[in-house]
């Protein structure tokens, strides 16, 4: 099975406007995420992101035909879709996944491409204050690819991930992609308070709130939380998490401190959101 290339991405975060800046910031002492910018409206952020991705969107529309390029978003859906209509030539399916997050829309994009319903998807999530968009294509020149995705729904609104549900979603990914050795699992923090309670810091290895899910994978695989979220349910944060995971594969280093080279070129992104929805994405370097 071939991976689907992530041909472009862009993010807006209080720590910076590109993945490298945010990853570099994770190597410094922990600070509040809002240290740099005051929140901006989702529409303004979406326009910013689209301007940054303008060339890639135009290239995808030219290559595949505008009607074969889709856009799937979460977060502040209507403003993002309006911005996409106004600022790009994308003319394929455009829709908003309600109560979804940035990882879930990537899973949706993955299915749309594997089903041959479209040839490229602009996917992501933007909230008031932050967000990220990624371009996923059928073929293309990219260092990082999406190898598999899976979704599982557990009991709604659990305060912590149910290990059985995590096991099911990871097993689903394995059934699609085999069991490649992983560099790390990129997981979101349950909340800033949970981060503090669990005793781990931004960019450090995740602690007890994912510890019970370790049974799914060998102990040697670290679970990393970038902890850049201000809210566990902010869809834009999860899109940023996907970008940071992809960027870490591209850089060859784990997020956070101390700097460690990736031992393997595959990263599993795991998120959970409102309603007990769990998503797993397997990202990796192009072979």
């Amino acid at each position: 099975m071939a991976g689907l290339p992530l041909t472009a991405w862009a993010l807006r975060h209080p720590w910076g406007d590109d993945a490298d800046t945010v990853l570099d910031r994770l190597r410094q002492p922990p600070v509040a995420a809002e240290e740099r910018h005051s929140p901006r409206p989702a529409m303004a952020i979406a326009v910013d992101l689209l301007e940054e991705l303008d060339d890639r969107c135009a290239h995808a529309c030219s290559r595949w035909g505008a009607s074969r390029v889709a856009c799937v978003v979460a977060g502040s859906g209507s403003p993002i879709l309006s911005a996409v209509r106004e600022h790009t030539a994308v003319a394929g399916p455009l829709y908003h996944l309600v109560e979804a997050n940035g990882a879930k829309v990537l899973a949706s994009a993955d299915r749309l491409l594997r089903a041959s319903l479209v040839d490229a998807v602009l996917a992501g999530a933007v909230d008031d204050g932050r967000g990220a968009l990624l371009m996923l294509e059928r073929h293309g020149d990219a260092f990082v690819e999406l190898w598999a995705s899976a979704e599982v729904t557990g009991a709604a609104d659990e305060p912590h991930p149910d290990p059985a549900v995590v096991q099911r979603v990871v097993s689903s990914v394995w059934s699609a992609a085999g069991r490649p050795p992983l560099a790390y699992v990129h997981t979101q923090a349950a909340s800033p308070k949970a981060v503090a309670d669990a005793g781990f810091e931004a960019g450090s290895e995740a602690g007890s709130n994912v510890g019970h899910a370790r049974s799914v994978l060998p102990d040697s695989v670290p679970w990393i939380s970038t902890c850049v979220s201000t809210s566990a349910q902010a869809p834009g944060d999860h899109a940023i998490d996907v970008v940071l995971a992809a960027a870490s594969v591209s850089r060859g280093f784990m997020p956070g401190t101390p700097p460690r080279e990736l031992e393997h070129d595959r990263v599993l992104v795991h998120t959970s959101s409102t309603g007990g929805h769990h998503v797993a994405l397997l990202l990796g370097a192009r072979p």
């Binding site: 394929g92 319903l117 099911r168």
Partner: protein, 212 residues
């Protein structure tokens, strides 16, 4: 590249104001009083699908089309979600006027991973469309079904202006109601739905055709 999937459409149900009081037997008695009307009509249609489905709805992904501009906290179904416990993922699609074709595209995409998917639509009686309605059916992979009707991917047709397609001011989910009724009686049909993009006029064509 493989051909886009088509789905066999089976076991459909629909509810609108002409259908009489919704049947909420699917809901536990303790929950019946406290739920929203949209949850009640969704329970009505899902109850019919549950009764006819060869497999429990918990074993298929759910794709739910919701009314234009739905506020997440008001989206119905949490009680139903608890009762029917979908385990394969639940997606809620909002695309304004194009919610029906976009929901169908999202549902068809699920068939690459799952043999069947539940498609449902629900809207409460809220402005500007003062009609509540609900519809649901199962989509299954064409190869494993003996259903008489198949649903292909909605196709977008651009028009030079809105006047060419004589738009009607109708409920954005009305086409879902008509599709459910057509599936229920085994009648092929074609629905044309506005893309909802004022600056780029066009319409989505949804074709429910005979399997053979």
């Amino acid at each position: 590249m493989t051909a886009p999937p088509r789905g066999a459409a089976t076991i459909a149900a629909a509810w609108d104001a002409d259908s009489g009081p919704p049947n909420v037997e699917l809901l536990p008695r303790a929950d019946r009083r406290g739920v929203s009307f949209s949850t009640r009509i969704l329970a009505h249609v899902l109850g019919r699908v549950v009764a006819g489905s060869p497999e429990p709805l918990s074993s298929v992904p759910w794709v739910l089309g919701v009314g234009e501009g739905s506020v997440p906290a008001l989206v119905p179904g949490s009680v139903l979600r608890r009762i029917l416990a979908p385990e394969r993922g639940l997606v809620r699609v909002d695309a304004g006027a194009a919610t029906v074709p976009m929901t169908l595209i999202e549902a068809l995409a699920h068939l690459v991973d799952h043999p069947a998917v539940l498609v449902a639509f629900v809207a409460d009686a809220t402005p500007p469309y003062h009609e509540a309605l609900a519809a649901a059916w199962l989509l299954t992979r064409e190869s494993r079904a003996d259903a008489p009707l198949v649903l292909g991917p909605p196709v977008l047709r651009r028009t030079s202006s809105y006047s060419e397609r004589a738009p009607r001011a109708e409920h954005p989910l009305a086409s879902a109601l008509r599709l459910a009724r057509a599936i229920d009686v085994g009648q092929p049909t074609v629905e044309t739905v506005s893309s909802g993009e004022p600056d780029r006029p066009g319409s989505w064509r949804i074709e429910l055709c005979a399997a053979f």
